[in-house]
């Protein structure tokens, strides 16, 4: 490093995060590498022995892998929305979080797209997609649209980064210096260069929006263009796009909170960002609830035989616990968490008397443990040893009631910590959106239009993921986080030139900037 931090400005603190590496970073990277290695081990096993090591069989050809694929393509919409839509509409508050969001887009695609190849039984035949693919098939459309989207989002991540790379080029030597020198394309901030840059950014910002929308629409068409109950629906395109933006916003909120805490970016990422994005998340949450209702209500109301079987397994059958938990915890609870606390009157939290301080939560916890024990109706639990019909109501309702009471108890805390609340809601949303994709993929495959042959063993017609699939899934998430962490180590995670007061791409050579008058003298 050939320069020293002379002044304690936010910008210098940001640049410091590139080189000052704590123990936590190494521990995190080591842990992620370990998980990733375990995932690779699992995949090698699958490669050697074939898909028989997964829970997928004749009827269930898509499992966790396609769930992950849809999920990762979904969160890749973070960059598009935050960066492109907010850039085009001139929302200036988005500047500090633009790059974070764009990086999510590229990295999520890099992790998500290979999930399809992992789902293949014969990945050695990957070239057949091109050699024998039919251009009429939505599967091939998906290959094309994801490739196009990946290329576009790479460009869109890269172009606004050029002025920052030039700034870094002038401050670093060694491998960083060489890397930044190559990538900065000889940027000097001349008027001609600035014009070209602005033009490139403007074109990409506009172009990437329809591409992003089309990508998730095409992903939905892979489902919707089949005549399978539960999939064959015109709402699937917009439903998937809304779901993607929804989980994308949740992802960027989580990333913002983590970077803010880990890299001390409080100067850049302010409560205002969490409030604005939290409101967007709330709106998308409500739209997604509306779409979910529309999708299921149409099938439920017409009640055609095959459709009814899928819905029965989701509403009351095998997937009911998963579905209702997702709806309550993943969709309604975040909406309440985001909407209710801001509506509460500003009032200091009254200090509870000592007895109440201990008693109330302790009681709540006790009730909850008992109720949760009752609710999990599996052999070996409390529920199995009791006659649940004596409860009169479904244990789910009791759980819901207990949860509501608990929520009311912690409501003042939510009011007092708006950022934590927003991030908490985002985590719930992301988990729920992963599960929702699972609920889109699996129940339909388990209830095909043509009846399952009675000679098919029961376990072939019902999907239960194996350790191989869970390991690869864990590996995929580890890979995503690892790539993101490393990206933040090599490139500034907050756009420097866009967050400067004048918002101009570095006009003069960085050595001559007003930031370092001491250096010049």
């Amino acid at each position: 490093m050939d320069w020293e931090i002379e002044r304690d400005t936010p910008e210098n603190r940001l640049l410091q995060t590139l080189t000052h590496t704590g123990l936590g970073f190494y521990v995190l990277v080591a842990a992620l590498l370990a998980i990733l290695g375990w995932g690779v081990h699992a995949y090698l096993q699958q490669l050697r022995e074939g898909l028989v090591v997964t829970g997928m069989r004749d009827y269930i050809a898509w499992g966790l892998y396609i769930t992950n694929f849809v999920f990762f393509i979904g969160i890749s919409h973070a960059g598009t929305l935050i960066s492109a839509i907010l850039r085009v509409t001139g929302a200036d508050w988005r500047r500090p979080i633009t790059r974070m969001a764009e990086a999510i887009t590229v990295l999520a695609l890099l992790v998500g797209a290979p999930m399809v190849i992992i789902d293949m039984g014969r990945p050695d035949r990957i070239a057949h997609i091109v050699l024998y693919g039919r251009i009429q098939s939505p599967v091939l459309w998906d290959v094309i649209s994801v490739t196009t989207y990946l290329t576009g989002s790479l460009l869109y991540l890269y172009i606004p980064m050029i002025p920052d790379l030039a700034l870094l080029r002038d401050r670093f030597s060694g491998w960083r210096g060489s890397l930044y020198r190559i990538l900065s394309l000889g940027w000097q901030g001349t008027p001609g260069q600035r014009e070209r840059l602005e033009r490139g950014i403007a074109i990409m910002a506009i172009l990437i929006i329809p591409i992003a929308v089309s990508v998730h629409t095409v992903v939905s068409w892979i489902f919707g263009m089949t005549v399978k109950p539960g999939w064959h629906s015109t709402i699937f395109g917009p439903y998937f796009v809304v779901g993607a933006i929804f989980s994308g916003i949740a992802s960027i909120l989580i990333a913002m909170a983590l970077f803010r805490r880990a890299l001390h970016l409080e100067d850049y990422i302010t409560p205002r960002h969490f409030r604005n994005l939290g409101l967007l998340l709330l709106v998308l949450d409500l739209i997604y609830i509306y779409f979910t209702l529309s999708e299921y209500l149409t099938g439920f109301y017409t009640g055609m035989e095959a459709e009814a079987a899928v819905l029965a397994s989701v509403f009351t059958g095998r997937f009911a616990p998963m579905f209702w938990s997702t709806v309550v915890i993943g969709f309604f609870l975040p909406a309440i968490m985001l909407a209710v606390p801001p509506l509460l009157p500003e009032r200091p939290v009254p200090a509870p008397r000592p007895m109440r301080r201990v008693l109330r939560p302790a009681l709540a916890t006790l009730v909850l443990v008992i109720v949760a024990g009752l609710a999990i109706d599996q052999p070996g639990t409390v529920a199995a040893s009791l006659d649940l019909s004596a409860l009169w109501v479904h244990p789910g309702w009791v759980l819901l009631a207990a949860g509501s009471v608990l929520f009311l108890l912690i409501l003042p805390e939510l009011k007092a910590h708006p950022i934590a609340t927003t991030v908490g809601a985002s985590i719930l949303v992301n988990v729920a959106m992963w599960v929702k994709r699972y609920l889109i993929v699996i129940p339909t495959l388990e209830n095909p239009l043509a009846p399952i042959s009675q000679y098919t063993p029961t376990e072939w017609a019902h999907y239960a993921p194996t350790w191989v699939e869970w390991s690869i899934t864990a590996g995929a998430f580890a890979a995503f986080i690892l790539l993101y962490v490393l990206f933040a180590k090599v490139f500034p995670i907050v756009s420097i030139w866009e967050t400067r007061e004048d918002h101009e791409p570095t006009e003069e050579r960085v050595r001559h900037t007003t930031l370092h008058p001491e250096v010049i003298q």
Binding site: R196, F319, I329, P361, A372, E413, L428, T458
Partner: protein
């Protein structure tokens, strides 16, 4: 601080309680629905109790009001007098579904056309593998999995009956054994006859094999050969024979058949024990046009050294259908469709190129 922590912990526990509830949806062994219950009845019960529960070899199941569900569950799981126990073949959910089905609580009364659904369709192939499947479904309930007998007589000694006699018994029934004419085609019954003959062959030659085994010296080299023949209907027959150096068959020895996967893995497909001729026969389902690389492995014993044999077989492909000439599924898509696709995707990539050109301009414009 303490309050916050306790509240947070309680709330997280609440979420995890809900979460583990959700996870039960991912567990295996799901509840059994009514169609499945009907199929289970057809497979395991109809042979003796009749397709309409009217009774046959076993008693009619039409008047079971007095019997408690738990008792019925017990009888199905544990068996009763001559009825075989199904507890090992079926899981609790399946037995519970059968209880509901038999009592008419699930899937309504088995009357008229409703009941017809429960009868398995006629199977239309007559290879050995199919015969063993049919035997497993239709016969083992009374005659035992190895033909050792149970409710019905043992099949290890067929009393010198001719094939024609056996055909007649299976088709029309005998004593209290139900006839299978309506349920199985002629070809299947023929396949069954030759299948059940194996039981008697295996028993009668058992004595000889023991003598042979005793005559062999310890840890002698063993020879394993693998003979693969593609059969009709996508079935590959793998005939493995294990012999001593001098060509004597090695009987009653476990063999494992592996499939060598494309990526160099070894997938254990099945295990079998050699018969008196030192042979074990595997029937493998395969796709038309598929190439199977197989390896038979004998693990070795005190008497015999380990041995293995490899083989490869390619199944004949099926005739290619004439291509569809028009519409969205034809190999040559409609030109208008392709034109739209090219314009849209080409337009996007052309725009990318323009943006990349801007970057090139930036690089070129630098001051020297």
């Amino acid at each position: 601080m303490k309050l916050r922590l306790t509240l947070l912990v309680s709330f997280l526990m609440f979420l995890s309680g809900f979460g583990s509830l959700a996870m039960t949806s991912m567990a295996a062994s799901p509840a059994v629905d009514e169609n499945e219950a009907a199929a289970l009845y057809a497979n395991y019960c109809a042979g003796c109790h009749g397709a309409q529960r009217e009774g046959g070899y076993g008693p009619a199941l039409t008047d079971l009001e007095a019997l408690a569900d738990a008792e019925l569950f017990e009888i199905i799981a544990q068996g009763k007098s001559g009825m075989p126990a199904l507890g090992e073949k079926l899981n609790d959910e399946q037995i519970q579904a059968l209880v509901g089905f038999i009592k008419g609580e699930v899937g309504g009364q088995l009357q008229g056309s409703e009941g017809e659904k429960a009868v398995p369709p006629v199977v239309s192939a007559k290879s050995d593998a199919d015969a063993s499947v049919i035997f497993g479904e239709q016969c083992t309930g009374c005659h035992g999995a190895e033909g050792q007998g149970g409710y019905g007589p043992a099949l290890t000694d067929l009393g010198g009956r001719t094939d024609a006699e056996l055909l007649g018994i299976i088709a029309r029934g005998a004593d209290s054994m139900p006839g299978f004419e309506g349920r199985l085609g002629e070809a299947e019954i023929e396949a069954l006859v030759s299948f059940i003959r194996k039981f008697s062959a295996a028993t009668s030659e058992e004595g000889k094999t023991e003598e042979i085994a005793q005559a062999v010296t310890a840890a002698a080299p063993a020879r394993l050969s693998l003979d693969l023949s593609p059969g009709a209907g996508g079935v590959v027959t793998a005939r493995v024979s294990l012999q001593s150096e001098s060509g004597e068959p090695i009987a009653d020895t476990p063999l494992v058949l592996y499939r060598q996967t494309v990526m160099g893995g070894n997938l254990a497909l099945a295990e079998a024990t050699t018969d008196s001729r030192g042979e074990a026969i595997f029937q493998l389902a395969a796709m038309k046009g598929q190439t199977l690389a197989l390896e038979a492995v004998y693990a070795g014993s005190d008497q015999w050294r380990p041995a293995s044999a490899q083989g490869k077989v390619k199944l004949p492909g099926s005739a290619v259908l004439p291509p569809v000439v028009s519409g969205l599924t034809s190999p040559t898509p409609p030109p208008a469709f392709v034109a739209v696709l090219v314009v849209v995707i080409g337009g996007v990539w052309a725009t990318y190129s323009y943006v990349v050109y801007q970057l090139v301009c930036i690089a070129v414009q630098r001051e020297k």
